[in-house]
């Protein structure tokens, strides 16, 4: 039988074994060692083109599989297997330890899936930044008598990254859809008109998020290119002034 298998990434030899057991529809409590070992080694073979050091853990398990397989081939077992009543002695089964390991691992693998679902459920609930109470007074921080925990630092840092995500979008995303360069160009010209033909370069950049500032800057460049405005600077690092291009004295190259 030939079929295509799309394999997910394996998390280790036990994960690979579970995958094979599942795919081959093997009963985990009665693993056909020969078949499973062959399949496992076939997979290892394909993996061998990859990094060897990452394979070492897989190889250790391969050795275990082979050992179990050979133990099961011992004639004592075959003889007993013919006799139904001797099944009570299956606690001696060389596969027991492996089965126990697989089952234990599987439990946590499934718990991981549950955790992931739980995290997904949680992720549809958004919360807000704490309100700013600084205008009412200092937050009182009690004296730090005990040892503090480094992991609190990490927690604080991660929380801050989360908060930044909440803070950024509300300004940025909305702005982007709203203000185009051409709109901003009109806006700048209106400001210039109101202020009698000139204004501080900096004043155009006083508010807005990064997107907004970039749009403002692009608009200025475009206006300069069209010679609608001229940007003047008295000396290096001096204040820059934006004026409407009316003032002929500076020309408009």
């Amino acid at each position: 039988m030939t079929y295509k298998v799309k394999l997910e990434a394996f998390e280790g030899p036990l994960d690979l074994l579970l995958h094979l057991i599942n795919r081959l529809e093997i009963d985990i409590y009665d693993i056909p060692m020969a078949e499973l070992t062959n399949q496992y080694i076939e997979h290892l073979h394909a993996m061998r083109v990859l990094k060897l050091d990452e394979l070492s853990e897989y190889l250790v398990l391969a050795a275990t599989l082979l050992e179990i397989k050979s133990k099961m081939l011992l004639p004592v077992h075959e003889g007993e297997a013919l006799d139904e009543s001797s099944d009570f002695e299956m606690e001696e089964d060389p596969r027991d330890e492996l089965v126990a390991r697989l089952i234990e691992y599987k439990k946590y693998k499934e718990a991981a899936i549950t955790l992931k679902e739980s995290a997904e459920e949680r992720s549809v609930h958004f919360t807000k930044l704490p309100g700013d109470l600084s205008q009412y007074g200092e937050l009182v921080a009690p004296e730090t008598e005990d040892k503090l925990n480094v992991f609190d630092l990490i927690g604080a840092f991660q929380k801050m990254l989360e908060r930044k995500k909440l803070r950024a979008p509300l300004t940025a995303n909305i702005m982007r859809s709203e203000i185009s360069v051409s709109e901003k160009m009109d806006h700048i010209m209106i400001i210039l008109e109101r202020q009698g033909g000139s204004c501080d370069f900096d004043s155009l950049f006083e508010s807005g998020d990064i997107e907004g500032l970039v749009v403002t800057f692009l608009s200025l460049l475009e206006l300069m290119k069209r010679s609608d405005i001229v940007v003047l600077q008295d000396n290096n690092f001096g204040k820059m002034t934006v004026t409407t291009g009316m003032e002929e004295s500076y020309g408009n190259n």
Binding site: L14, K159, P169
Partner: protein, 203 residues
């Protein structure tokens, strides 16, 4: 008690609103409302019910990691994602999830125990989980090498929507029966009567 004063519910809402994602513990709430914790639970539950019963409410109350937080209702998630800059959710790899599950259920636990359970080295995932603030050192094992014992953090509980570590769903085996050794034996016993061939590939 039968009728909770409207004003105290409003007060709790205002506190929770200010606290935002810091949330408030039951202790915080009872201190702030100047009441005992038992009453605080009842008031919080009434606030939650108010939100749930009001279809025009965009927010509701949740308890994560021991802290009550106001959060937006799930039904608006897509609308909110629309306005978020970078709606990609924090990806966590399968390996990290496995390690996290082991730590959550077996804590405190050493790296070696985790490695043994998974059959692979778990240094990488552990490092990631520490950096994400989901796990932390909970002391050292008093044995040779004094290995670090790991446990989960409150941030883990928050991000995974758990009220407390006791609220983790019980570990289950994929088969319906949560079986011990006896059951393992019994199922083997049964199988032995059903079929004896090693191949088992009868499809």
């Amino acid at each position: 008690m039968e009728t909770i004063d409207d004003r105290i519910i409003g007060m709790l809402e205002s506190f929770l609103f200010i606290a935002g994602d810091d949330g408030l513990t039951l202790k915080n709430i009872s201190t702030l409302l100047q009441t005992d914790e038992e009453s605080a639970v009842i008031i919080a539950e009434q606030l939650r019910l108010n939100y749930e019963n009001r279809s025009c409410a965009g927010i509701t109350l949740r308890l994560y990691g021991g802290s009550y937080r106001l959060v937006t209702k799930a039904e608006y998630a897509d609308d909110i994602l629309r306005m978020l800059e970078n709606p990609t959710r924090n990806p966590i790899t399968q390996a990290s999830l496995e390690v996290l599950a082991i730590i959550a259920y077996k804590q405190p636990v050493t790296r070696v125990e985790i490695d043994d359970l998974r059959g692979v080295k778990s240094d990488g995932p552990i490092q990631t989980l520490v950096a994400k603030g989901f796990i932390m050192e909970k002391g050292r094992l008093e044995s040779s090498g004094r290995p670090i014992l790991y446990g989960t953090t409150e941030l883990f509980l928050d991000k995974f929507g758990l009220e407390s570590i006791d609220m983790l769903p019980p570990l289950v085996d994929s088969d319906e029966e949560p079986f011990g050794d006896t059951d393992l034996f019994m199922s083997k016993f049964q199988e032995a009567f059903e079929m004896t061939d090693e191949g088992g590939n009868n499809d």
